[in-house]
């Protein structure tokens, strides 16, 4: 085959997929802002995404904070800059590690379960059944999950921030022998509202990405059990990659001067 032809085919396929995804996204958003709303489903999704992700996110955050304190100590003690540890920990957690690690962990948890659930509904004709029962599946299935994702991710990340900083505090005070009052004072002095806010905005975007990818891949899955498996994998992989890409873009927007 002509190599140009092959490149062209891949490029066209990429454009078609992007188009489908954007159409799906636009439809999901437009259904999320127009009635009827499904408060019961939104609430259930919020509990699923927010409350049940707390253990995963909390554990990730506490260890991230602890490792961060330990590693920056090894580095900074070489040129007697141990005092900056509190600063490094709190900025890294609130700006980057909180949103990104929580986002990736929840992408695994929620992205996969959404794709599997909606994908199974697709292959067992439950989505067709919704349509025949006067219910728009985009409105009933997709919109509530997008809303719940956007609403709950910032709250999760807020919790992750607090637990992450606490993890750093534990290591600094109990292992490295810092004065607790000084460490907390340092943490507080360095922290600005912008650090936390930028992290929360990132979280909302990541929440949107994770739920969108889960719903999109589930909704378009075909071919039985194997198709659902593929949808699950694609949802997690694409959500993770998009989180890292959009993290860079958002950081650039917030902090590039």
């Amino acid at each position: 085959m002509n190599p140009l032809q092959a490149i062209g085919r891949v490029f066209l396929k990429f454009l078609a997929t992007t188009g489908r995804l954007l159409t799906f996204m636009a439809s999901g958003i437009s259904h999320a802002v127009r009635p009827p709303f499904y408060p019961r489903i939104i609430l259930r999704q919020m509990i699923d995404i927010g409350y049940y992700s707390l253990p995963v996110v909390g554990l990730t955050a506490v260890f991230a904070g602890m490792v961060l304190a330990l590693q920056s100590y090894t580095g900074f003690s070489r040129f007697s800059a141990e005092g900056a540890i509190a600063n490094v920990v709190v900025l890294s957690i609130t700006r980057e590690l909180g949103p990104v690690l929580a986002g990736l962990m929840v992408a695994g948890r929620i992205g996969a379960s959404l794709a599997a659930e909606i994908g199974t509904m697709r292959v067992t004709e439950q989505i067709d059944a919704l349509t025949t029962l006067s219910t728009n599946p985009m409105k009933y299935l997709v919109a509530p999950r997008l809303v719940a994702g956007i609403a709950m991710f910032p709250l999760l990340v807020l919790v992750a921030d607090i637990i992450g900083v606490f993890g750093g505090y534990l290591v600094a005070v109990y292992k490295l022998g810092f004065n607790p009052a000084n460490y907390l004072q340092n943490t507080w002095d360095f922290l600005t509202a912008e650090d936390v806010n930028s992290g929360l905005v990132k979280a909302a975007v990541f929440g949107f990405i994770v739920t969108l990818m889960g719903c999109y891949h589930g909704y378009n899955s075909k071919g039985g059990a194997q198709g659902v498996g593929r949808a699950t994998t694609n949802a997690v992989v694409s959500a993770s990659i998009l989180i890292l890409c959009s993290d860079y873009i958002l950081t650039e927007m917030f902090f590039a001067k």
Partner: protein, 261 residues
């Protein structure tokens, strides 16, 4: 065949075609279903029965042709108008397609709740009443669909299909995957509830016992076309080799099994 030239059919399908890629699935289908009639479409796997049903339901858009419900063209209709037309539909899916996150009663009254025809309290009462119509007692109302056997799920699916008193009920392979006794129970229920609701019925199946039981009229789909249709009593002397091969289930004959879906 009934003379329906001066009566408007409930469903009128004209020259409907649908292809997926290079594969032609429907190749100019014409079909009329009269008011209160029960038409069964028979045909082998992969002959486009499901595609045809989904086109009428609006789950798929045909490439060309016209589909009229009560004389009203539904192809190219706006989504909102289409939803209004779909209000008068009920559908029993092949695998029942119950929502496994909802208890049985909420499955049955899902359409009523979606159309806000009643509150949740009333909906449960109606659901129990509909379940009784398909021979299930009130105890199952609070079970989850996964706790039911395949035949029971089909019954719940049937109760859901008739819950909003539809004018047209579609049955997609209603007996597939059931043992012969349960299949017959479902066939009897289909005949009974369709009559009770006074609905028009369009079914697809490859189970001849089922087709003979529920049909007034049978149409056979082969290679994307309706090759024969007539009253159910004529099926044994249709004079069509394809039909004969199909109803007797012979491997030898003019019908070649297609390999690809």
């Amino acid at each position: 065949m009934n003379d329906q030239s001066n009566i408007q059919p409930k469903i009128q399908v004209r020259d409907v075609a649908k292809s997926f890629g290079r594969k032609v699935v429907l190749d100019g289908i014409d079909l009329d279903v009269g008011v209160g009639e029960s038409v069964v479409i028979i045909g082998g796997s992969g002959t486009g029965k499901s595609v045809m049903l989904k086109s009428i339901l609006g789950l798929l858009t045909p490439d060309r042709g016209s589909i009229k419900i009560d004389g009203q063209e539904v192809i190219g209709m706006s989504t909102a108008d289409r939803e209004d037309v779909n209000h008068q539909f009920g559908m029993l899916f092949q695998g029942a397609a119950l929502f496994d996150s909802l208890p049985v009663w909420e499955n049955v009254s899902f359409g009523l709740l979606a159309e806000k025809r009643c509150d949740r309290g009333e909906a449960k009462e109606i659901a129990i009443q509909k379940l009784a119509q398909v021979g299930m007692n009130a105890d199952v109302a609070d079970l989850m669909p996964a706790e039911l056997s395949g035949g029971m799920q089909k019954r719940v699916g049937l109760a859901r299909a008739i819950a909003s008193d539809p004018k047209i009920i579609f049955f997609d392979e209603p007996t597939t995957g059931l043992d012969p006794i349960m299949a017959d129970v479902i066939n009897d229920l289909i005949v009974k509830v369709t009559r009770e609701v006074g609905a028009t019925a369009l079914s697809i199946t490859h189970d001849m016992a089922s087709a003979r039981k529920i049909a007034n009229r049978i149409a056979m789909l082969y290679e994307g076309k309706i090759i024969w249709q007539g009253p159910v009593n004529d099926i044994d002397h249709s004079g069509n080799e394809h039909v004969d091969q199909f109803i007797h289930g012979r491997a030898e004959g003019p019908i070649q099994m297609s390999i690809r879906a």
